[in-house]
Amino acid sequence: MTDAGPLWDFDRFQPGETLGRHAVALDDARLADWQAIYGARTEGSLPSGMLVAAMMEAYLEAFSPRPPGNIHAAQTLAFGDPVQPGDRLDAEVSCLWKEMRKTRRWVGFGVVLRKGDRQVLAGEIRTIWAR
């Protein structure tokens, strides 16, 4: 990812367009940070919330530069197949829709996380874009 290039403003988004792909490793360091926040888990299990964190990482890595001041307003999550510690996930981020509501610029982003050919999480990040 690079911050070079034109700003991702509202006009630039094309619904249906893939914005980026990103790989996330569910490694021990990430799990240790997680457990420091939310508490220890049964050994060998992976908190499902780590998939949400991976989704956010993929979303942030997918495209830039972004205008400051975007608001993460709403979120959907659909959990699929389970994951295990050490799994490597592939994420794809796309623009699902955009819409002006009064003066607000709403943009919906889709993020799909897969382990191999199996879907483990699909989410929609609904934002109010700053400009």
């Binding site: 997680w34 420091a36 939310y38 908190p47 993460h72 307003a73 979120q75 999550l77 659909a78 959990f79």
Partner: protein, 142 residues
Amino acid sequence: METLEDCGLPRELALVSLVAGPEAVARYAEVTRDFNPLHLDPEFAAQTSFGRPIAHGTLGLNLVIEALERTFGTLPFDVRVDVRFIAPVPVGTTIRAGGKLTDEATGTYEIFVETASGARVVEGTCIVARAPEIRNTGASHT
């Protein structure tokens, strides 16, 4: 007449809480690779409309996922979540998450994250799509 208590699904999700302090927020930044100074830098945040650092929105959302896993033992297959982030969480705030069963037929819970004073910061719904299977496998009731 069957009541919600008879239907097999827990009426309420386990209530879980944490302090969204600077260390937890810094750790969450590592987990998500989201190092936006709005979350981490008091001097930067002081210049924004928030006036002080704000925790990542999904830090609170994930507390709901923790509540689901602690209630059912593991996340039920094919869970669907739909939430709105309705208020920012200043770093240092204690938050708690939980939920209440509202529709046994669809396995729908109203879910929330709130501050210690009860102010909602996240709210929405969660559908446990395979409720019958969960009941048949004897998931814990809280």
